[in-house]
């Protein structure tokens, strides 16, 4: 806060103005949603005042009873954490293999992965659904997780390859001379050094899975498996006229995301930045 005040004093007025406007654009919808969540319908329709006249906690009660936001939250965590863990575990070794080992036709195989990065998942949505169905995993979190890992693999491998490629070959060769096995080199030497890459991939996978909607509509069908985006859209569709409750539901849906972000923001930002500039 103090540094912010100092910023206000020191900054170039144009920069200050532009930043304030852009930040307000980010922030105002959140403020509006959250304050509206405490208003009743009359006030939502009638008044523009920022703060509610009387704080309607009942809206949150209605939202909490009308949707299972606790459940949605847990489901979203399951999907996001599961996808992240498996994605990293699967993509890191492959990225290493492309970067640091000799394999015939590796470049062709790599092109095949590159192709997958640009392939929009929308183009294979129907058969992808049937694939998950044939595995008996429709309406289970595992089905969604596996599908997300599968569709995310090309980017993950590509990203990890970039990180491993930047590590000096000399490290592996020295260890090999010391009699270390290939596995030891990978797990003991290379993996720890690729930590920023693992973090980057982790953040990308986590955000992607946390916000997933397209596949989830088809794969998570019943109320007990739904994630936050699905649950919120459904709540909105079934509570069209209780605006206060809807704003409360939106608030319940966004608070976990914001909290997770604020707590992990250093990792988020550096992971995203590293990932994107490497990728």
């Amino acid at each position: 806060m103090k540094s912010l005040l100092r910023f206000v004093r020191e900054a170039n007025p144009f920069v200050f103005f532009a930043l304030t406007v852009l930040t307000a654009v980010s922030l105002v919808p959140f403020l509006w949603v959250i304050t509206s969540a405490f208003k009743d319908n009359t006030e939502i329709f009638g008044s523009m005042s920022l703060l509610p006249e009387t704080w309607q906690w009942a809206n949150f009660e209605a939202a909490w009873l009308g949707g299972q936001f606790g459940r949605y939250f847990i489901n979203t965590i399951i999907v996001a954490v599961g996808t992240t863990a498996i994605s990293v575990a699967v993509a890191a070794p492959a990225g290493y293999a492309f970067a640091k080992t000799q394999l015939k036709y590796a470049s062709w195989l790599f092109y095949l992965y590159l192709f997958g990065i640009t392939l929009p998942i929308e183009s294979i949505i129907v058969p992808l659904f049937f694939q998950v169905k044939d595995l008996g995993l429709v309406n289970s979190h595992l089905g969604l997780i596996l599908a997300l890992v599968g569709t995310g693999v090309p980017f993950g491998v590509y990203l990890m390859r970039s990180f491993f490629r930047d590590l000096p070959d000399a490290l592996g060769e020295a260890a090999r001379l010391d009699g270390a096995s290939e596995w030891e080199i990978f797990f003991r030497i290379m993996m720890p050094l690729a930590k920023p890459g693992l973090l980057a991939l982790g953040v990308f996978s986590f955000l992607g899975a946390w916000n997933e909607y397209f596949l989830s509509i088809l794969l998570l069908i019943t109320e007990d498996t739904r994630t936050i985006p699905l649950g919120l859209v459904r709540f909105q569709q079934t509570n069209m006229t209780d605006y206060g409750a809807m704003f409360a539901a939106i608030t319940l849906a966004i608070i976990p995301s914001l909290l997770i972000y604020v707590v992990l923001q250093r990792q988020f930002i550096s992971g995203l930045a590293a990932g994107a500039t490497k990728g």
Binding site: L4, L19, L27, I44, A106, P120, P127, E182
Partner: protein, 312 residues
């Protein structure tokens, strides 16, 4: 027979030896690659093959039978104005995404790089929208645009600009743009972070030299920052292109492609055709056409950017 055996044995053992040698040589990379390839094959490559197969049929998604119809689905959609218009909307959508999301992201990053203090705060806040799902963003903006309670119209009325109020999502002339703004809102924090990282990796000596030469702020940005971001820009524009070609969540949550087809992007077209009209073959053909376009353009764009080369 004896001859046969004599002839065969060396060959066989030769092959075994070769396989063995291959295996010892490639065992490690193959084991490392295997899990990722299995996932990729099962959830992308096989469905892709199946999508192609389905695109040549008239399957309705449910019936036990389907007929082979050749390229009928492809000729059908490529002569259908609804599909072609949805493709054109993706182009508009992409342009909006570049101007609004990438543009604001770049602007923010440059502004932030100009300030010493307060950067952390602004960066944190500007990134807020990106931690939300596009579907959640769609729900929020659906309310902002709401004809009865929406903040946007209410604000215009409040400051006396009643002439600017619109039925943002009901008016077919502007529904697509309304949804595009919401999507850009969700994305610009992401591009900002990438641009910031790109700016931070620029050699400070370049700026120092420019300062010695007496360059002002604008010149520094124009002559050093922007050209130095060549590679970052390539990545960002590729990402923006891919994500703009997808565009589903926010549209689905706000307009479902309506009114009529006014905000129908290709991804929404695919969804409606597959799950509402039950024309799976046609939907598969549309999806694969989109895929071909995205892949081709990403490839050509990156080739071109590499040729143009980077500044540094």
């Amino acid at each position: 027979m004896n001859m046969d055996a004599q002839l065969r044995t060396p060959v066989a053992s030769n092959r075994t030896r070769r396989v063995k040698k291959l295996w010892t040589g490639y065992r490690v990379p193959l084991i490392l690659l295997a899990p990722s390839f299995i996932f990729y094959a099962v959830f992308v490559l096989l469905p892709l093959g199946r999508a192609f197969q389905l695109s040549l049929t008239d399957w309705n998604g449910l019936a036990p039978t389907m007929s082979y119809v050749g390229t009928e689905n492809y000729t059908g959609i490529w002569t259908e104005s609804r599909f072609l218009t949805s493709l054109w909307r993706n182009v508009i959508w992409w342009a909006m995404h570049v101007v609004l999301a990438v543009g604001s992201g770049l602007l923010l990053a440059i502004l932030l790089s100009e300030v010493g203090r307060g950067r952390f705060f602004f960066r944190t806040v500007a990134f807020f929208p990106h931690v939300l799902s596009l579907a959640v963003v769609g729900v929020i903006w659906g309310q902002l645009y709401h004809p009865l309670i929406g903040l946007i119209n209410a604000s215009f009325e409040r400051v006396g600009l009643t002439a600017l109020t619109r039925i943002w999502l009901g008016d077919p002339e502007i529904a697509l743009y309304s949804v595009g703004v919401a999507s850009a809102w969700q994305a610009y924090g992401f591009y900002m972070v990438i641009f910031l990282a790109g700016i931070q990796s620029i050699d400070p000596q370049l700026y120092e030299a420019a300062r010695v030469d007496g360059a002002n702020g604008w010149q520094r940005i124009w002559d050093i920052t922007i050209p130095s971001l060549h590679n970052t820009m390539t990545i960002v524009l590729t990402l923006a292109f891919i994500s703009a070609m997808k565009g589903f969540g926010s549209v689905w949550a706000m307009t479902q492609g309506g009114p009529g087809y006014a905000s129908e992007l290709v991804a929404v077209y695919v969804w409606r055709t597959a799950f509402q009209t039950q024309a799976i073959g046609q939907a598969a053909a549309a999806g694969l056409s989109l895929a071909a376009i995205v892949i081709l353009f990403s490839f050509l764009f990156n080739r071109w950017r590499d040729k143009v080369g980077s500044y540094t």
